[in-house]
């Protein structure tokens, strides 16, 4: 008797979590859906086919988002891993960690607004390279701090062991450190990918509308009052992370939960 309400609440929670996904898909298939209709008068692939065929630029946006996010994720994961080693073995590691937290907790959009002058100056304004670098600057502290717990005594012992067994630096990384950190590297890659994939404010400032990632498109459609295209681009925005999550789930589960 006491347990009977739990399954009910749980099912409700599952429904609540799944509902947005279903609703967004429905909205992306709809057209001409106004108050007070509970269901759209049109459901079909009209919006999707239009997006895929004409020059709304959604496919290009998808591609450039993918390019930007993959670059940011790869570069920040690798550099975060390599640099965090020096930082967390450093005698002043507490101070260095604190320094890394400043850019980490500052709102990216404010950061970008104050940095934009330098990006302009370096010719990194309004191009993909600039957006990658700007996103890297905010993803890097995350990656760096992410690996802080990895560089413990035990890992240091492994490194020493490999050295006394005759391994050089390169072999230490390839044969031991990367395999040891594999799960963490994957999660960090996933997380930094998401940081980049979801970034709007910073991208809109550094990209000045010339770099149109998916999030920029979503906002554009919201501004246009075009819910249907907005929902469609939301779908494009959500589903790659879900796919990644699904394939990554083994590692993510092990490490996160």
């Amino acid at each position: 008797m006491k347990l009977s309400w739990k399954p009910f609440v749980l099912s409700l929670a599952v429904l609540l979590i799944l509902f947005p996904f279903a609703y967004l898909v429905l909205l992306s298939l709809a057209s001409d859906w106004r108050f007070p209709d509970l269901f759209p008068s049109y459901i079909g692939l009209k919006n999707w086919s239009k997006i895929l065929s004409s020059e709304t630029g959604l496919l290009t946006s998808f591609a450039s988002s993918l390019l930007i996010s993959l670059s940011v994720a790869i570069v920040s994961t690798v550099s975060g891993f390599l640099i965090s080693r020096a930082v967390f073995y450093h005698p002043k590691k507490n101070t260095l960690t604190l320094l890394a937290y400043f850019p980490y907790i500052l709102a990216p959009v404010v950061f970008a607004a104050c940095l934009s002058f330098f990006f302009l100056k370096m010719g990194l304004f309004g191009n993909v390279m600039g957006v990658i670098i700007a996103q890297f600057i905010i993803a890097f502290p995350y990656a760096l701090l992410f690996f802080s717990s990895f560089w413990n005594k035990k890992v240091k012992s492994y490194e020493d062991l490999v050295a006394t067994l005759g391994g050089n630096r390169w072999q230490t990384y390839i044969k031991v450190l990367f395999p040891l950190a594999k799960g963490l590297l994957l999660i960090c890659f996933f997380q930094t990918f998401l940081i980049s994939w979801f970034e709007y404010g910073l991208t809109s400032i550094i990209g000045i509308g010339k770099v149109q990632t998916l999030t920029i498109k979503v906002f554009l459609f919201i501004k246009e009052a075009n819910y249907y295209y907005g929902a469609l681009s939301c779908c494009l925005l959500i589903f790659p992370p879900i796919v990644l999550l699904y394939f990554n789930k083994r590692y993510v589960f092990k490490k996160l939960a």
Partner: protein, 407 residues
């Protein structure tokens, strides 16, 4: 250790120096005197960056599916579009000036009065260049709605692209007699509570200017340079009026939509019954795309709504000035303007003086299909007023926030 820490700083400094070293290759002054043939040659094979407002699918379709391929084919110009309007353009220009960048990100921009005013203030525009454009002969430069932008003479620093008038939009099924003046608006507000609002953006402020002119007593009450005393008296009346009726506004006037498109959404789903907008309300396209109900209609305010042009300008540090001129000239061609007037497309009024066109084009323009839902500009023109000086707009922004929103 300290030496090593300096290395990245040195690298950054080097990159800084290198990237600032790019010099603008085209000679600016010569271009202003050059013959069109030379400009055409210089424009061939260039990539032109066009920063424009991308908030409408119809406009985007016109640019992406018609203009871009045509200029590529005709002039071998790659047209790149980036999204950005008023403040973004000004910010970019100011930033580039501050960073002393000789070769900018953007060549041409789509602007109107207020941005024009700001860009002139920071010397952000290049020109005059309009007279050199061959298609400029079809534009009636004596029309005050064309040669004056927010009370400022254009003087060839920007080329007019479209003419349009501000219109009030309503649903003719739900509202039988929409208000045409301030007293009628009061009645409307009391009868249809929560169905009207003022967007805190360019569009909303333009509506306020119409009200300000009406409070001033005549369609011409705001003409001429900015007058502080006039503004003070009239704006005080305006805020008093709005605050007195605030409780009948959407959400009881506790908040206001950020932009016109939001207002459009609220109208589309029936929360608002009375809105307004440029381009004669932007009704046709929204009805055709299924966003607005088919019973949507538009009209002008009795004391007049703003009629103005919007313009195309070339930035002072545009790397491809000749290319930008070529594209602008194309956008002013009868062909491009006719396409732009298509009711199923961008549906915007031409700036060309139809009577000065060759007769074949005159015929084509006369055959353009009429709108099915929105009003024609010719029907509103008798209630048109000119844009007041830009300071009115800037002050209204500040004070609307100060005296209405934050109150």
């Amino acid at each position: 250790m300290y030496k090593l820490i300096n290395i990245p700083i040195v690298i950054i400094a080097c990159v800084l120096c290198l990237s600032c070293g790019e010099e603008n290759t085209s000679n600016n002054e010569d271009l202003k005197k050059a013959a069109w043939k030379e400009i055409t040659e210089a424009a061939n094979g260039t990539t032109v960056n066009f920063m424009m407002w991308q908030g409408s699918p119809a406009i985007n379709a016109y640019i992406n599916n018609y203009v871009t391929p045509t200029v590529k084919e005709k002039y071998n110009i790659d047209l790149q579009i980036s999204g950005g309007q008023g403040p973004e353009i000004v910010q970019l220009v100011m930033g580039e000036k501050q960073a002393n960048i000789k070769s900018g990100q953007v060549d041409m921009v789509w602007i109107n009065g207020e941005t024009f005013f700001q860009l002139r203030k920071v010397n952000g525009l290049w020109g005059p260049f309009v007279k050199q454009l061959p298609n400029a002969v079809y534009i009636n430069m004596n029309d005050s709605f064309i040669n004056t932008d927010f009370q400022q003479p254009v003087k060839g620093m920007e080329a007019p692209w479209s003419l349009n008038q501000f219109a009030i939009v309503y649903d003719s099924i739900k509202i039988e007699n929409p208000p045409k003046n301030i007293p009628e608006l009061s009645n409307y507000l009391e009868q249809h509570r929560g169905t009207f609002t003022i967007s805190n953006d360019f569009t909303g402020m333009t509506f306020l200017k119409s009200l300000l002119a009406e409070l001033g007593g005549s369609p011409n009450s705001l003409d001429g340079p900015f007058d502080e005393a006039t503004y003070q008296t009239l704006s005080q009346k305006l805020w008093d009026y709005i605050n007195a009726h605030k409780k009948y506004f959407w959400k009881e006037g506790q908040t206001f939509p950020k932009e016109q498109s939001k207002m459009g959404q609220l109208y589309a789903n029936g929360e608002l019954l009375l809105i307004y907008g440029f381009s004669e309300g932007g009704i046709e396209e929204k009805v055709l795309s299924g966003l607005y109900p088919k019973s949507t209609r538009g009209y002008a305010w009795e004391n007049g709504t703003i009629k103005n042009s919007n313009y195309l300008g070339v930035l002072h540090n545009a790397p491809q000035k000749a290319g930008a001129m070529q594209v602008i000239n194309f956008l002013l061609s009868p062909e491009a303007q006719l396409k732009k007037a298509d009711v199923n497309g961008m549906n915007s009024n031409t700036v060309l003086d139809i009577n000065s066109l060759p007769s074949e084009w005159q015929e084509k323009f006369k055959k353009v299909a009429k709108r099915k839902y929105g009003p024609e500009m010719s029907a509103l023109e008798k209630n048109a007023i000119a844009e007041p000086a830009p300071e009115y707009m800037i002050r209204l922004y500040d004070d609307f926030r100060k005296y209405v929103i934050e109150k």
